[in-house]
């Protein structure tokens, strides 16, 4: 399957479109409480994660996230007694079917949001995030860039300082907690004394080379090409459909006071279809690349 650093398919799209996709996806996960919509989103996000890096990022986080979702779905019926269908009593409090369903729906919603952010981190990489931020907040984007550059530098310096502390015999494994904290702070003092002043000298050198004269240019440039415009068009049409439908309450789902039954309507079908088309955009793009690759291989 794909690789983590692939720049084709959905990840190769213009960053603004990727951001738009995730904003709509996250808003839908937060606001649509209809179980079918939540399940569709979950399915889409999981397939997307597999198409992005073969599910490696998913495997790393899934256990913790499932635990959080489990805690929420179990704890809601214990605290809340809303709803008409009482299943049984626990410690003199009624446990209702509706509260259990509500807990499950919101656990699913939280799981969707957390997993959508995992996919977001894979698609909208920090450089794209900074590219998106630069026109609106150039100085903030610059500070974040410089801070990002300092982090590996400082980590390397910390390792050097700690190596010296170990060689000198100050930092030994298995010391007391207080001793470890003291030595940790000694490391920090050395680091701050070393780095803070150097940063200010860097600033002087930046100014000497003309920092702050004229407009800032960006290192990476993205251009809207024909494919981007086509995807934007599909996103706009389906997205407007989703928003308008949601405003009229087409996909509204009531948990309280009584769990809503299964109600089909033409409007709901259309709305669900356009939501599914919207969700499937990255899957279609990555799937096309994958098929293309298979096709080329089979011809050789």
């Amino acid at each position: 399957m794909g690789r983590a650093d692939m720049v084709y398919g959905f990840s190769g799209l213009h960053p603004r479109l990727c951001l738009l996709y995730f904003i709509v996806l996250l808003a839908a996960c937060m606001m649509f409480q209809h179980p079918v919509y939540l399940l569709a989103s979950l399915l889409c996000i999981i397939v997307l994660l597999f198409s992005l890096d073969g599910g490696r990022a998913l495997k790393k986080v899934i256990k913790g996230y499932l635990l959080i979702a489990l805690i929420i779905s179990i704890s809601n019926p214990l605290f809340s007694s809303r709803g008409a269908t009482i299943l049984f009593y626990m410690m003199d409090r009624p446990v209702t079917l509706e509260a259990i369903a509500y807990g499950a729906i919101f656990a699913l919603s939280l799981l969707n949001i957390l997993l959508a952010f995992v996919a977001f981190n894979l698609v909208v990489t920090p450089d794209k995030l900074l590219y998106l931020l630069t026109p609106y907040a150039p100085r903030t984007a610059f500070v974040i860039t410089v801070t990002l550059r300092f982090v590996p530098l400082l980590t390397r310096r910390l390792q050097q300082i700690m190596t010296i502390q170990k060689v000198m015999g100050y930092l030994q494994p298995g010391g007391s907690k207080k001793h470890l904290m003291r030595e940790g702070m000694e490391t920090m003092h050395t680091l701050v004394g070393w780095s803070l002043e150097e940063a200010l000298q860097t600033a002087g050198s930046m100014r000497a080379r003309g920092y702050g004269i004229g407009r800032r240019s960006s290192g990476t440039a993205y251009r809207m090409d024909r494919r981007d415009r086509l995807v934007l068009w599909i996103m706009t049409v389906t997205g407007l459909n989703i928003v308008i439908g949601a405003l009229f309450g087409v996909n509204h789902y009531e948990v309280y006071p009584r769990l809503q039954g299964w109600q089909w309507s033409v409007q709901l079908a259309i709305h669900l279809l356009s939501y599914a088309v919207f969700l499937a955009i990255p899957l279609a793009m990555n799937g096309k690349e994958w098929l293309h690759w298979r096709f080329i291989k089979s011809n050789m």
Binding site: M30, Y102, F142, T147, F150, L180, M188, H189, S195, Y211
Partner: protein
């Protein structure tokens, strides 16, 4: 003309935000509403940062302090839930003021999350760490913040407050009845972590705030930072 244009821009922006907030409120979408409000709390600081006249030194100082706050977890990796990030932010704010404190805190949150993974908690961490810096900077000239016990109480309270605000984001969104038992059990569950944060703040502030202040104040007076009047380097300001 420019003034009217700006007025129309900001006016329409505020109208859209209020409309959005009202929709979220009446439709009971409290989770997106909370993100909107947190965003509104953070953005003004960055708008001010974009517009202020600053020298390259001051921008780099914010970046370096943010990076130090973000990597300060590394030497304490063998000790779980002990991390001096809040301590570094408090020190930066005491030396360089409230606005710098906020920026250092929120940039440290963004940058450490770029390495650890962004999530719905990112804006909340930006807010919490930013506010630690901001409040420390606001109180830095009061008589108790100049004393050790005052700083310790400040650090201890923020250790708990940080955890309590961070608990809010999923409590708001994912429970249908926000009753006291829900809050109480969430806060009992996080008590150990909050206590560890508070106690490590007190520990760092007691033992090391003197040394840190000396280092930071020395750099500040040497380069005349964030106080252009007594700057020894007369230089063009960055736009």
């Amino acid at each position: 003309m420019g003034k009217i244009k700006r007025l129309i821009y900001t006016g329409s922006l505020i109208a859209v935000i209020l409309l959005l907030a009202a929709v979220f409120w009446f439709e009971e979408y409290y989770l997106p509403l909370s993100f909107l409000i947190i965003g509104l709390a953070i953005v003004p600081f960055f708008i001010r940062f974009e517009r202020k006249k600053l020298r390259a030194e001051e921008i780099l100082l914010v970046a370096m302090l943010g990076a130090i706050a973000a990597v300060s977890r590394v030497p304490f990796a063998p000790l779980p839930s002990v991390q001096p990030t809040s301590f570094v932010i408090i020190m930066a704010a005491l030396a360089f003021g409230a606005e710098t404190g906020f920026l250092v805190g929120s940039i440290a949150a963004v940058v450490s999350n770029i390495f650890l993974g962004q999530g719905p908690w990112t804006p909340w961490q930006m807010f919490c760490w930013g506010m630690i810096g901001f409040t420390a900077g606001l109180l830095k000239d009061t008589f108790w913040m100049k004393r050790m016990w005052g700083r310790n109480i400040f650090g201890f309270l923020w250790g708990f407050l940080f955890g309590w605000i961070m608990n809010l984001w999923f409590l708001i969104g994912f429970y249908d009845q926000l009753s006291w038992p829900v809050f109480a059990s969430a806060y009992i569950a996080s008590f150990y972590f909050d206590l560890a944060h508070a106690l490590s703040n007190v520990f760092f502030l007691t033992l090391f705030s003197g040394v840190w202040m000396r280092i930071l104040i020395r750099v500040k007076s040497k380069y005349g930072l964030l106080n252009p009047e007594d700057s020894p380097i007369k230089s063009p300001q960055s736009p």
